[in-house]
């Protein structure tokens, strides 16, 4: 199923919540409003036409200087039934959810795809996006007392951590 068809299905289902569709290029994706994302996730997984059964990746993306951060969910639908018992790649799509830079909230989809658990923690850790309803909302890669979210473009490197001076070179 091509990305355009998926986008059409989503459009009929969610209407205006689907704010943008890029069906061509090396990374076809749709953008969906944050409020309806959880609902859309369940739909993407359970709809018999889509069956997005694996969440491959969740990435944060800072759109600095625009005041947005996007969360990119890469989904794939794998089904059995190919030659020699191989599974077949039915369709692939990325979904983007755009939230404000400060205090952006997205519904966690860890209950839809458990794979989202750690990925969302990572995005929350490095971008500061808040995932509502996450089962285990701790920092994952950085220490618990780390200040700031390093993958944001406006992140200022700390000069010390826990009394340990950090060597910071001049910003390029």
């Amino acid at each position: 199923m091509s990305p355009q068809e998926i986008a059409d299905i989503l459009k009929t289902q969610f209407g205006d919540a689907l704010t943008a569709v890029v069906a061509e290029g090396s990374h076809p994706h749709v953008t969906i409003a944050a409020e309806r994302w959880h609902e859309a996730a369940v739909f993407l997984r359970d709809d018999p036409r889509l069956q997005m059964n694996m969440l491959r990746c969740v990435s944060g993306l800072d759109l600095h200087p625009e005041p947005w951060i996007e969360v990119v969910y890469d989904l794939i639908s794998m089904q059995p039934g190919g030659q020699q018992g191989l599974w077949v790649n039915q369709s692939t799509i990325a979904v983007r959810v755009r939230v404000p830079r400060d205090g952006g909230h997205v519904a966690s989809v860890a209950d839809v795809w458990p794979a989202a658990d750690w990925h969302e923690r990572e995005a929350a850790d490095l971008f500061g996006v808040i995932f509502d309803g996450h089962p285990d909302p701790r920092r994952i890669l950085l220490p618990d007392d780390w200040i700031g979210h390093p993958l944001r473009k406006d992140y200022v490197f700390p000069t010390e951590y826990d009394g340990i001076p950090c060597a910071v070179t001049a910003e390029s």
Partner: protein
């Protein structure tokens, strides 16, 4: 339990842990054990908090990040060509595959065409590195199970592969060989003979190691039926690579979404098979630790097959495309996955026309594979935790990035 010192070890609990275990800890005599980050069978600096009742692990909570080296942040601040060496450090046991994924993603984004010969060399290197990586996995898994000797055998064979790599690119661990537009230099003279020589020697060795370890009664008893991951769970948790295939899902990017030139080779995709079939002990359940381990053993054979075919078809010609000296990452984005040694290694690269990309996201397969640990390590014995972790085969460089 006293507050300040948890039985001789400094208090490493986070507030969250404390909330989580406090309620249960009062009830019975449960131990809270800190496994790692310095532990022989956590393969690097993984740390697990084990909540145990004697030997029985009630819950295992992984804590990662001890090897976080800001790879993604670095990726945003250096040019793609400069970033290739950094990818070596992700899954440091299969550096070639990491180079490969990143190079492919950048080439796709920039629209670069790679010469035929370079593509074959890439396949040769990736498959060799897959064998080397699986050998480490095989050896270390034996070590986790208490069998020391297979480890040394595995490392002996891996040394030969590293010798080949050293002859090719001068490096033994972090290669920076598969770079954007092809490979950095041509194969050395006599490489084909040496490799064929090695393959003839190595292929029968796999059967030998199966006899030594895979079919060992104690080994089967230790691993079969332990840490069973159903196909549904494997998909839901985003498991890929041998871990996914062991659960019975015949999915391999090299066949299902062919990239590079993998569609030109004939090879099988080994998957986990229920016990009782030929070559599978009776105790085995699809998706258990033994299946995950054995899929790797079989994959080595398939890699040998691919290597033989690639050697046969290896064309002459350029080994590198013309890459502009000041390569700019065009505006646009790409998400590309390759089948790494441990699963699908994905790169999301977003460019905005500058020299450096706006965002480099790395989907480490170990990161996703490891996330199932809590789910699987429930009501198992401490020894089983080592068995499960070893069969998932994580490389912390890739988990923490």
């Amino acid at each position: 339990m006293e507050d300040k010192v948890v039985h001789g070890q400094p208090d490493l609990l986070t507030d969250f842990d404390r909330q989580r275990v406090a309620a249960d800890d009062l009830r019975t005599e449960e131990l809270l054990i800190n496994m790692g980050p310095q532990h022989p069978s956590t393969h690097g600096v993984l740390r697990l908090m084990l909540r145990t009742d004697g030997e029985l692990v009630l819950e295992a909570i992984p804590h990662i990040g001890y090897l976080h080296r800001c790879a993604e942040k670095i990726g945003e601040n250096v040019t793609p060509v400069q970033f290739v060496p950094y990818t070596d450090r992700l899954d440091y046991l299969a550096g070639m595959n990491n180079n490969h994924g990143y190079s492919l993603a950048i080439e796709k984004l920039c629209g670069l065409e790679v010469p035929e010969r370079a593509r074959y060399i890439r396949v040769l290197m990736c498959e060799l590195n897959r064998i080397a990586s699986h050998l480490v996995s095989f050896g270390c898994y034996g070590l986790d199970m208490g069998a020391f000797t297979p480890f040394l055998y595995a490392f002996r064979e891996r040394e030969y592969i590293l010798d080949l790599f050293e002859a090719t690119c001068g490096q033994r661990l972090t290669y920076n060989y598969l770079s954007i537009g092809g490979v950095t230099q041509d194969l050395p003279g006599g490489f084909a003979d040496k490799l064929a020589h090695f393959l003839d020697y190595f292929e029968p060795k796999i059967d030998e190691y199966n006899n030594l370890l895979s079919y060992n009664y104690i080994f089967v008893k230790r691993t079969a039926g332990v840490g069973v991951v159903s196909a549904a769970d494997a998909l839901a948790y985003g498991l890929t690579g041998p871990c996914l295939r062991a659960s019975g899902v015949k999915w391999d990017l090299r066949r299902c979404v062919p990239y590079e030139i993998y569609d030109r080779f004939e090879f099988d995709i080994p998957i986990g098979i229920a016990g009782g079939a030929i070559g599978v002990p009776r105790e085995v359940v699809v998706g258990d630790s033994w299946s995950r381990y054995f899929v790797r053993m079989q994959e080595m054979k398939q890699s040998v097959r691919i290597l033989r075919q690639a050697l046969q078809q290896l064309p002459a010609g350029e080994f590198r495309a013309k890459v502009p000296a000041a390569l700019k990452v065009p505006a646009g984005e790409v998400y590309l996955e390759v089948e790494g040694a441990r699963g699908q290694l994905g790169y999301l690269i977003v460019g905005d026309g500058k020299k450096t990309p706006r965002r480099v996201k790395i989907r480490g397969p170990s990161f996703c594979n490891l996330s199932i640990a809590t789910h699987v390590c429930r009501r198992v014995l401490i020894a089983d935790v080592a068995a499960i972790l070893g069969s998932i085969d994580v490389v912390m460089g890739e988990v923490d990035r």
